[in-house]
Symmetry: C2
Subunit: 762 residues, 2 copies
């Protein structure tokens, strides 16, 4: 844990340069616009600790799997997020020595990310080894209004010294991936060119053959007088425009880079033309105008997704940081894209899609973005259905059964640990649940016939084959699985998995029954045979769900009570975190839980259980949970709030909201925990505000932390926008849309006319 | 499976050179003498498929672990068996082109390993690209009478052609390990020298700092006239003596290499001197005399360990091949050495010690070698006790509890798969059982006080901490283990593990009670507190052992009967072998068993169970066992024989006896399955001959395969030698020792005076 970021409601501020924190700051100061993004690397050379990263949505490399002992079924490749062309790069040589903060005396340093604007600022005053003192001010953004463009300015004011400056403003695709398994470089050169005023760098990924094109126009001036480049140089995958300047005390050197960036992923034709056009277009616009449009785009976003907290500025900063990064990562415009665990902030874990998307991110995008965004997240899986069927076939399943991958970019499994890849199959459940969740929230019933049913049938087939009938129990059991709690591996009858698997079958049966028009044609897409229902219904009747009647709890898995029953509070803190202090086998055989498992199921299917059951399970499992997954605390906030456990809810909230800003897990340097950021949002909206959908209406049941004066946010629901403000006594609603809407506040149904507001006493 | 080796009672014969089989043959034709060994590589260059391998006992390299996902507790290093100096090497250039069987027309080719002699012979007639026809005859051996020496002869007769031959006879330490994780070379050069007539090559292993010294005197003659070398050349880690010869049709060129080989492992001082002395000594002896002494040493071995089978020549060849390789691998002279899974025949798997040693190899050496050999195998583990305690500490155990590694060379764990390394803890049981087995067999009660009790106490402490009390069951359970059947991982209450763990505690308690002299001092070595017995006794009383009373079987683990109960015979053969055809998760959740698990326990503790129980368990588990471990069939031969199941016993025997000769598992090319070879011997002696120890005497209860006319073997027992011959009706005994002995034949006790023989009707 490191707390060096200044508290501010709208900004992430670093006021001092600490080389040891640089990689953390680079993560925190990442920018993105759904199509492209980059870490907060310096534009100029930096020879200290840094993780260089520019990323392009959808562009990946299948890196050859590295394992100790091969197991049948392991994927050959791991799809890696690719570090791509460095487009911010400036080489600045002052009287022969290269500008490098690692070799300077830093007199003043600050950088801040303005989340309202989506702009990263830096201001620093430094003295070089040779005694030249200069001030650098820089700004950059990845345009939200035109997502194929980006720009940065870099102003140098000479405070002391004189001489010459050699400047290279470059595009460099000769970059490395730190996370490469075999120290390979992943890009080959396609072309390095000049075009009108700019330079162009096109590279292609090895194996996957993705083209990435970067065009850049550099604008350089000294004391407001334009300077032309003296030449262009090229080397392997690298092109730069070079300038020679003289400077004196008081000289003001300004460099602006205008970028056009396209890839063959979204621009299959005329790549060079389109890229240079984008570049020319942002250049023509000028930096100021392009920034203005970008800031306006962010303002529009914030207007519909902001969460305001009064009385807790640190929580305020935390939630905005999370919302900001979620919208930077995924715009929802392209159903082939998804939400990577590190977004555009790092390369670790690779892949782009975990079950996090369905279980944690979907609710956020449903409530804060257009309905199409959620729909695209679902269609992503529909696109990959055939690959999921092939994946299941590899493991021995038949007849169109689908097992979606644990981690994927293109639909193929990337993960290579048998206990996860082959066994953490509950992900199939979350993918089915997302269909239910989306339709329940949006009312978009058409989705089922159009796409949803195909996925549900394939997943149901998987479950039907994955259960086996136990002659001993006379029930259907599911052996050898790993539940959401990854601190158990290869267990039998994980309650959560069995429950969601049964639910999938039920939901699929109901959804097939519910199909109206063209039922036969729809089912024919899946070669569905009505006889399949027989087995499914038999299984639904006889699924084994382990429980302990005496304790009144569901059992996380078979024989869970054989474990030594100790609680986290009884554990000497020297043992925590378990994942660093204990050997793996000790973790596995202990009672301790990494993340919500039974409680994850209760969260999903809350309406199936009465409050006593929820409470008994919460009181049994929460004290055994170490929350060593960033996805755990939010579920506990939501259930603790439901149970009226204010303190527990806030304790859990603290664990999620500033995870990255305060580097809780000592791993922010690798990138941010993008998907768990959605959990923070859920903690507030589904937790403290108690939002649900009930009878086709939004429902609220608030329980604010005691010291919070007020929390307010907007919710998109069925193409309407509702503003909600909650304080310790009252709930204010404002219907910002042009149609009336009804809202439940606890048991009370409130009808709001268009643009009407109301206040309800709590 | 490949069957190309000629059947012969004493020889392994290959009559045709098939490049595709070369690596298999190289394994089969491996030689060794317990200290050093090598694969059957050609002395001259071979550019086709080959696995080059010369190995030195005790010399290893800790190769950095390679894993996909790191787990706490994983070892940093994997101790690899090292390919070391190539000492057979000859470079032969005939009129400018290098002699290489891969580029010749092979007119005649045969090689054979004479197992009686321990000598490898080759005879081939080839024509080079340039049209020179020559015959090569070569012989080599690793001396059994002086284990620091080896020699080879290489005779070339020119059948057609003439010209010059450039010959280099070299020692090359610049070798690679195919199994290197990071493509590193493992040796550094120490010195390359000439000494009197010979050359000397000393190298040192990286990290571990083992020195390996090879001295070689080359003797070269043409038509019986000695030729002196023209010069010596050196390059990195390589030294050679070079010769220039002219040849003509009929020329007879003879090269003899005399080797002295020492390592710092067994020659810590004066390494160079001792090595050159060994070399000089075998050279002085001449090849013929050295070979004679070597053959005599083998004759002495065979006299005490041979198994003769009449009526089944293929089985005869198989058993001799296995005995031969076991004695090549391990001589039992040095308690720091052990029996590597590939011996001196390959580098795969690394390490040198698995639980195979205790469970399978010990009985072989107890019965076919001096008592000290078995004792040394036990002391090996005693030597490594402190490391085993540290290994347990790494996993969170305390107070001197020991967990022996799954794989090791120097006592440190090498294996890096959590489900094996951390969970296949039953190995501790086998190590304790070996102490019992050794004392029962040899009567060497002193071993317990001197060494055994230290190991037993440390292992008992481990079990006492590894069991946990289940409030639910009111019994002690053991969670998260992998049993001998590695087709199950991370199961609860593996019957075998729980049983052997309880037995360890019982045996340790009894052994502590049984200590006589200096009891306190002995126990003080382990800081043993008498109060520890309380917990141990409590556990012994209340260990949970899963069983199904209705079926009358022990359950391999909790909930085993929840699995779909299908039998191997009902499986479409296209699914076999499972380890190649099925994904890992499918294997895990299936009922199929890789190797004896419950039956392994019944084999170890046969006297604890009545025949009905043995039969019920055999009939339940055997049909579910796929025997995809080479260690499985032998246990089934023994139990099937006990149960009078002749056909099943012979079926199982076939799976073990010619595993390598006929390349059953398509992996002989990697090296031979040395440890499972002991299982073949057990199959005959403990299986068909039904040998046991009963009331301090040997016991036999034979059941020969129907077509076997006769099987005979010798057994060392308590420093006596017994010859046993069994046919379909009678059992012949000959007491070859100078003291009387008693032997049970079934229920009948026979007393044999010194050198007396007798016949018993069966």
């Amino acid at each position: 844990m490191k707390k060096y970021i200044q508290i501010d409601p709208w900004k992430i501020i670093e006021n001092k340069f600490t080389p040891d924190n640089n990689k953390i700051s680079e993560s925190l100061f990442s920018l993105g616009n759904g199509k492209l993004g980059l870490r907060g690397n310096f534009a100029e050379k930096y020879s200290g600790e840094t993780l260089q990263g520019s990323y392009l949505a959808g562009i990946y490399y299948p890196d050859k799997t590295k394992v100790g002992w091969w197991k049948n079924g392991y994927p050959e490749y791991f799809a890696k997020v690719l570090n791509s062309c460095n487009w911010i790069g400036l080489n600045i040589i002052l009287n022969k020595s290269e500008l490098d903060l690692n070799n300077c005396v830093i007199k003043e340093f600050s950088r801040h990310l303005d989340m309202k604007e989506g702009v990263l600022y830096r201001n620093c005053t430094i003295t070089t080894k040779e005694g030249i003192t200069l001030n650098i001010k820089s700004e950059r953004f990845c345009s939200m209004s035109d997502d194929h463009t980006a720009a940065l300015t870099y102003e140098i004011e000479i405070l002391k010294g004189q001489g010459t400056m050699a400047l290279s403003a470059y595009l460099d695709s000769n970059v490395e991936n730190e996370d490469s398994n075999y120290d390979e470089k992943f890009w080959n050169e396609i072309s390095l060119k000049e075009f009108s005023k700019g330079i162009y760098n096109e590279a292609i990924t090895k194996k996957t053959g993705f083209h990435a094109a970067h065009a850049c126009i550099n604008e350089v001036s000294v004391n407001n007088e334009q300077v032309e480049s003296i030449n262009t140089t090229k080397s392997e995958k690298y092109i730069s425009q070079n300038y020679e300047l003289t400077f004196d005390k008081g000289s003001m050197i300004k460099i602006t880079k205008y970028l056009g960036i396209h890839t063959s992923f979204d621009t299959p034709n005329d790549l060079e033309l389109r890229t240079t056009e984008s570049c020319q277009s942002i250049f023509n616009k000028t930096f100021a105008k392009a920034k203005e449009e970008h800031v306006e785009a962010w303002a529009n976003k914030w207007n519909e997704c902001d969460v305001e907290i009064k009385g807790d500025e640190s929580a305020q900063q935390g939630i905005r940081f999370n919302i900001f990064h979620l919208h930077q990562t995924y715009s929802g415009k392209d159903s082939r894209l998804n939400i990577g665990p590190k977004g555009f902030t790092g390369e670790k874990y690779g892949g782009s899609t975990y079950w996090d998307t369905e279980a944690y991110c979907l609710p956020f995008y449903l409530s804060t973005a257009d309905q199409e965004v959620g729909r695209n997240l679902l269609i992503y899986r529909h696109n990959q259905l055939q690959k999921a069927i092939e994946n299941a076939e590899k493991l021995g399943f038949e007849n169109g059964a689908a097992l979606y991958p644990m981690v994927t970019i293109n639909g193929e499994e990337c993960h290579n640990e048998w206990e996860i890849t082959f066994e953490e199959i509950h992900r199939n459940g979350a993918i089915a649940y997302a269909i239910y969740d989306y339709i329940r929230y949006t009312g978009d019933e058409s989705y089922m016939a159009e796409y949803g049913i195909d996925v549900l049938i394939a997943i149901s087939r998987f479950w039907a084959q994955r259960f086996n009938y136990s002659e001993a129990k006379k029930l259907y059991v599911m052996l050898g699985v790993t539940g959401p709690n990854e601190y158990e591996n290869n267990v039998n009858n994980n309650w959560y998995t069995n429950y969601i698997a049964r639910w999938c079958l039920q939901y699929c049966v109901k959804s097939i029954e519910g199909l109206k028009d063209s039922k036969e044609e729809i089912l024919a897409r899946s070669n569905f045979d009505i006889k399949e229902l027989e087995l499914w219904n038999k299984i639904i009747e006889k699924v084994y769900l382990p429980e302990d009647k005496e304790l009144g709890i569901f059992l996380q898995q078979d024989n869970f009570l054989d474990k030594e029953q100790i609680l986290v509070k009884d554990l000497d803190p020297k043992h925590l975190p378990l994942n660093q202090k204990w050997s793996w086998d000790r973790i596995l055989r202990s009672v301790f839980i990494k993340q919500a498992d039974v409680l994850q199921g209760i969260y999903f299917f809350e309406e199936d259980f009465d409050m006593k059951v929820i409470e008994q399970n919460f009181d049994f499992y929460e004290p055994r949970t170490v929350h060593e997954s960033s996805l755990s605390p939010c579920v506990h906030v939501i259930l603790a709030s439901l149970l009226g456990r204010k303190e527990k809810a806030y304790e859990m909230y603290l664990r999620t909201s500033r995870l990255d800003i305060d580097d809780y897990n000592n791993d922010t340097e690798d990138g941010l925990h993008i998907t768990s950021m959605a959990g923070t949002w859920m903690s507030i909206v589904k937790g403290f505000a108690g939002m649900r959908v009930k009878d086709q209406c939004l429902f609220f049941n608030p329980l604010l932390p005691d010291h919070w004066k007020e929390v307010s946010f907007k919710i998109k629901y069925r193409r309407q926008l509702l503003k909600v403000k909650i304080d310790q006594n009252k709930l204010y609603l404002l219907n910002e849309s042009a149609q009336p809407m009804s809202v439940y506040i606890k048991d009370k149904k409130v009808k709001l006319l268009e643009h009407e507001k109301t206040t309800v006493q709590l």
